[in-house]
């Protein structure tokens, strides 16, 4: 290194060696934080692990007992059902809103569209836990912002129990979630929208197609690939919703908003600290999302072809 030449890393090394050396940091991190935990979670889900076992460091093998226990637990089945309802509702609403808003911000001649476009990323940057807490202030029965709006505008003179009613609590949790994750769906739809050639629309206009017909026969079919991408990505992330549930309802009222991640967290990290059952329930969640991921992989693969 005495010469003034720049430091040359692996100049004489073969691409094979270099490829390995350059991937060492990634390989170490990923095996530590992704590969190893995935296998260790499977291991834990077949063993009895709670506080006593953690202290001793010995985890007795219990076979499928953890899985049997969670599947016979009505609360686990309810959590899965709630997760499905939550995901179905938020993803459907998100896709419809995303396409509508993407079309809206595509209007270059409307100056308010530019304002919307500027603000779209704001919800994306808000920490989910802060988002949840802000909405719990908005939902608050006594002091809440939404009830204040109802009073002040004169829409209603009785307070609405936004998140405290078991029949609507799940929807109350999903609206903040939609608020926070909508920007992502809008951006993808908008990017796809800009990829559609104006020629299609001009040709359709010449043939006398109205705005609605153009949307139905040109825009929507051409947006289909991106809609499927949004559908799969959003579905698999919505399945793991956690922060908003913690901030707004903590699973309540009663057990109306217990979702899959919340169940695993509560099982493993709240008394009686049944980490084995927590791992088993988290694994079931991962399997469901894994199936979605495989369909996503196929989809992407077909796009590359």
């Amino acid at each position: 290194m005495a010469r003034s030449e720049p430091f040359r890393f692996g100049r004489e090394r073969s691409p094979r060696v270099l490829g390995f050396v350059m991937n060492i940091p990634t390989l170490i991190t990923l095996s530590l934080v992704l590969a190893y935990p995935i296998f260790y979670a499977a291991y834990l889900s077949f063993h009895k692990v709670s506080l006593a076992e953690l202290r001793r460091g010995v985890y007795p093998f219990v076979g499928l007992a953890n899985y049997e226990r969670i599947f016979s637990d009505p609360l686990f089945r309810l959590s899965l059902k709630n997760t499905l309802i939550f995901t179905g509702f938020s993803v459907t609403v998100e896709i419809v809103l995303a396409i509508a808003i993407a079309l809206l911000i595509d209007q270059q001649h409307i100056w308010t569209s530019r304002v919307t476009k500027f603000l779209i990323l704001v919800p994306y940057a808000v920490p989910p836990i802060a988002n949840g807490l802000i909405w719990s202030f908005m939902y608050s029965f006594e002091y809440g912002f939404l009830n204040r709006i109802l009073y002040t505008t004169g829409i209603s003179h009785t307070a609405v129990n936004w998140s405290g009613d078991p029949s609507t609590a799940l929807i109350a949790v999903s609206i903040p979630y939609i608020w926070r994750t909508l920007p992502f769906a809008i951006l993808l739809s908008h990017a796809a929208l800009q990829g559609i050639s104006q020629d299609f629309y001009e040709a359709a206009s010449v043939d006398g197609a109205g705005a609605l017909q153009r949307f139905w026969h040109i825009t929507l079919p051409l947006l289909r690939p991106i809609i499927v991408v949004i559908l799969v990505l959003r579905t698999s992330f919505a399945f793991a919703v956690f922060d908003e549930v913690l901030a707004i309802t903590q699973g309540g009222p009663g057990d109306a908003t217990w979702v899959a991640s919340w169940y695993s967290y509560k099982k493993g990290f709240a008394p009686p600290f049944d980490i084995g059952a927590g791992a088993a329930s988290a694994y079931v969640l991962a399997m469901i999302i894994g199936l979605l991921a495989i369909s996503y992989g196929r989809l992407i693969y077909r796009r590359i072809q």
């Binding site: 992704l34 802060a130 793991a240």
Partner: protein
């Protein structure tokens, strides 16, 4: 085509509705954060505070040392709020370190994916596409057990390692196609001039990839700053909490009122919201690149 007449009015109205929806929570948070508990109690129906004050921010940012007028008689302030400077420092250190580490690691791997393309590297890339789908809770239970055994709970490093691993795949997915789009001829010319492959990465690929690096860096910073579940499970002592964990610790505290909570939420969301608005173009590009390209 310029929309005309009532269509124009309708589009403006639709935009106003969307803007109102996006800003509503921020307005609510400001409304709550800029008044006292007393004022929130006194009028539970109005949308205008009896008096506006910055005392909530004053008491939080000084860790309870400066009480201000509205907290003069208050005897209770959660211990975690008194230790907020730990949370601010921890969140900053963790987010900055994770951003830098992921940028370096992901660039190295993305280069090998884009230029070397050996079979196992492409396989690694494939794993990365799937890695994003693993729910964090599945990883956190075994990581908790392992970290506990090796005494790594309640440490900044534990969270940094976990977040770096969790965000790396995303970066490789964004950077690899970008690196691949840089013409191979530039590499070849530099190599003829005697540059090693590593020098090519440092001197040619990375400087040409600043937009992609900015996209990915901004996204990683936002996700790292906002993440709750990883530090929540690994760090439960106030000295090692991040801002989101501190906020979560206040959720069950019935004695902490919304005025303080809203102020903390605004403190937590300000850095990422400002960053994203400043780097808007990069974030937009990064988000769409990460979703479509595989």
């Amino acid at each position: 085509m310029r929309p005309r007449g009532w269509i124009r009015v309708g589009l403006h109205a639709a935009n106003l509705a969307v803007i109102a929806f996006f800003l509503l929570p921020l307005i609510a948070a400001l409304f709550g954060a800029l008044q006292s508990e007393k004022s929130l109690h006194a009028d539970t129906r109005g949308l205008w505070a009896r008096e506006w004050t910055l005392d909530n921010f004053r008491v939080i940012l000084s860790g309870g040392a400066q009480r201000g007028a509205i907290f003069e008689q208050a005897t209770y302030l959660p211990d975690n709020i008194k230790k907020i400077h730990f949370a601010l420092i921890n969140s900053t250190v963790i987010s900055v370190s994770v951003t830098l580490l992921t940028l370096v690691f992901a660039s190295l791997t993305a280069y090998t994916v884009a230029r070397l393309r050996s079979r196992w590297i492409m396989w690694l890339m494939g794993i990365n596409v799937f890695a994003r789908f693993v729910p964090v809770i599945v990883l956190m239970i075994p990581l908790y057990v392992t970290f506990r055994r090796f005494g790594m709970l309640n440490s900044i490093w534990g969270v940094i390692i976990a977040l770096t691993g969790f965000l790396l795949p995303y970066g490789i997915i964004i950077l690899a196609p970008y690196f691949a789009s840089i013409p191979q001829e530039l590499d070849d010319a530099a190599r003829i001039d005697g540059c090693s492959r590593f020098t090519v990465l440092m001197r040619i690929i990375l400087p040409l990839s600043t937009p992609a690096l900015a996209s990915y860096g901004a996204i990683v910073f936002v996700i790292a700053w906002n993440d709750l579940l990883i530090p929540l499970i690994l760090n439960n002592r106030a000295e090692f909490m991040t801002l989101p964990v501190m906020i979560a610790s206040l959720v069950g505290d019935v004695f902490t009122f919304f005025n303080l909570l809203m102020a903390i939420c605004l403190i937590a969301l300000a850095p990422t919201v400002i960053l994203v608005l400043v780097l808007r173009k990069f974030v937009v590009r990064g988000l769409s690149a990460g979703a479509v390209k595989g």
